[in-house]
Amino acid sequence: MPSKHKVATTDELTDGSRVITEINGQEIAVFQIDGEYHAIANYCVHQAGPLCEGKLTGETYVEDNGWDWNYDDDEKHITCPWHGWLFDVTNGENIHNSKYKVPTYNVEIENESIFVVR
């Protein structure tokens, strides 16, 4: 039966910041990105690295002219500090291949407190 676990208050978690905690033995990170809260396991499915201790980053992309490289600064991708694998913290999917997926968890806000449901 899932239960709610308080991890922080909303004023503690500013835009682009995170908190990493342990819930029922599972390390889970909660990120605040553009006012939304996202919970994801602190576990890289590549080699079991501490995924959520890495940097948040955007994504390079090619312009329609096929030549220019640009950088999308919507920094919602967590970079594993071990080998650089990138996962979208909003859905847990590897940005290159969705068959690699890290568990995500529901987040609820009540009275300015942030809860992870697990």
Partner: protein
């Protein structure tokens, strides 16, 4: 601890893993695009070469000479022709055909003499090994990338194509199909050449001699060639040649003191360079309807490079925005490989079949390389794979995949 359990990964700490992560890892190790391997029922196996409906040799060489080509040089290139026909050693001074040591001591079935450059003799070669179709590739003109004069390179390319039409394809046998030749020197002119030749009967692909091609095959200077090939529905065949080592790996040529050292390394080297360039520079992304074929490096290197490319792709996001999917997915979708030379694999015959399984058997096509003296007869491949794959997979590798790809 009933909802999840501990999993120890290597020397890592006891990080806790939930059931959904386990499912992800199971999906992760599954190999895509496999044929049916060794658990195939005995009744589904194929036992004898005679049971095959078709055997296609996807690398059937002919042995054109300068004297063959000279009459076929267009009037437009009269000046180039004048120089070539007065060159005492054109293989050396027009082309730069060099070996570390001469391979002529190797075997009686030599690779470079001109004694089988006729249709009848080429058909005899196919008949000797019960091969139904031969996809004809050049011999001397594998060395085309070493021609340092662009006008002469273009003149010789077109001369080869004219000679090919006149001597091999207009003979009406239809068992010999051919790749039209392009050089890397002037891609726009080669696009015109593809358009000129593509409609000729029995032209099934574009031969792009690829050792000595600088910059490598993924560079967008070759886009006109790929665009024309895609527009005409012709796959592009990359064929290496250790004869060209001096132009692309001069240090290796300098210190490879034997033909063996040169030949062992340069074929896979140059194909690895061209394939990784092609993938990471996004050529399959730019030409999604174009197929590419890599010839004459065997199959053992394919899983190695594929694993390596996928690994880098997942780790080097910031420098690979041209790619929309895994390198191995581009390979499975658009890249084919011909099998010769298989190497000495008979100590455990299954090893070769396992390498093909790892590479993706749907993209592997039999080739002989006849008449060169490291050729593989059909039985050499067939005997290694028939016990490992089901009947359909074996049929595909020996000929059906080529029949479909090349519309035979």
């Amino acid at each position: 601890m009933t909802d999840y359990f501990k999993m120890f990964v290597g020397s890592n700490t006891n990080r806790l893993l939930s059931p959904e992560s386990i499912r992800t890892i199971e999906g992760w190790v599954r190999v895509p695009n496999m044929g049916s391997p060794s658990n195939t029922a005995e009744s589904q196996r194929i036992r004898n070469l005679d049971e095959l409906d078709v055997i296609v040799d996807t690398d059937a060489h002919i042995r054109e000479t300068i004297d063959d080509l000279l009459p076929y040089i267009d009037d437009q290139y009269e000046g180039a022709k004048w120089i070539v026909e007065r060159t005492e050693h054109p293989e050396r001074d027009i082309y730069s055909l060099t070996h570390s040591l001469p391979p002529s001591l190797h075997a009686e079935r030599g690779g470079w003499s001109a004694d089988t450059n006729t249709v009848d003799k080429k058909l005899n070669e196919l008949d000797e090994f019960n091969i139904d179709y031969g996809i004809v590739d050049p011999g001397l003109n594998l060395v085309l990338p070493t021609v340092n004069n662009e006008r002469i390179a273009v003149a010789l390319t077109k001369a080869y194509n004219n000679w090919l039409l006149d001597n091999f394809l207009d003979e009406g046998n239809h068992r010999l199909k051919a790749n039209l030749l392009v050089s890397h020197h002037r891609p726009e002119m080669m696009a015109e050449e593809i358009d000129r030749m593509a409609g000729e009967k029995d032209i099934v692909g574009v031969a792009f001699p690829s050792t000595g091609v600088i910059p490598p095959a993924g560079h967008d200077r070759y886009d006109p060639i790929y665009q024309a090939a895609e527009d005409n529905g012709l796959p592009v065949f990359f064929h290496g040649a250790s004869t060209n080592t001096s132009h692309v790996f001069p240090l290796q040529r300098m210190y490879n003191q034997t033909y063996t050292e040169d030949h062992v390394i340069i074929h896979p080297f140059s194909q690895m360079w061209n394939l990784s360039s092609l993938i990471f520079q996004g050529a399959p992304e730019r030409f999604p309807d174009l197929d590419f074929v890599f010839q004459e490096s065997g199959v053992g290197w394919i899983p190695y490079l594929m694993w390596r490319m996928d690994d880098h792709y997942l780790e080097m996001n910031y420098e690979l925005p041209l790619l929309e999917k895994m390198p191995s997915e581009y390979i499975h979708d658009q890249i084919y490989f011909t099998t010769q030379p298989l190497g000495h694999t008979e100590d455990n015959p299954r090893h070769l079949a396992m390498a093909i399984e790892m590479a993706g058997p749907n993209n592997i096509m039999y080739s002989s390389d006849l008449p060169h003296s490291d050729f593989d007869p059909p039985s050499e491949l067939f005997n290694r794979i028939r016990g490992h794959f089901d009947r359909e997979t074996v049929e595909n590798i020996m000929g059906e995949t080529a029949r479909e790809l090349l519309d035979l």
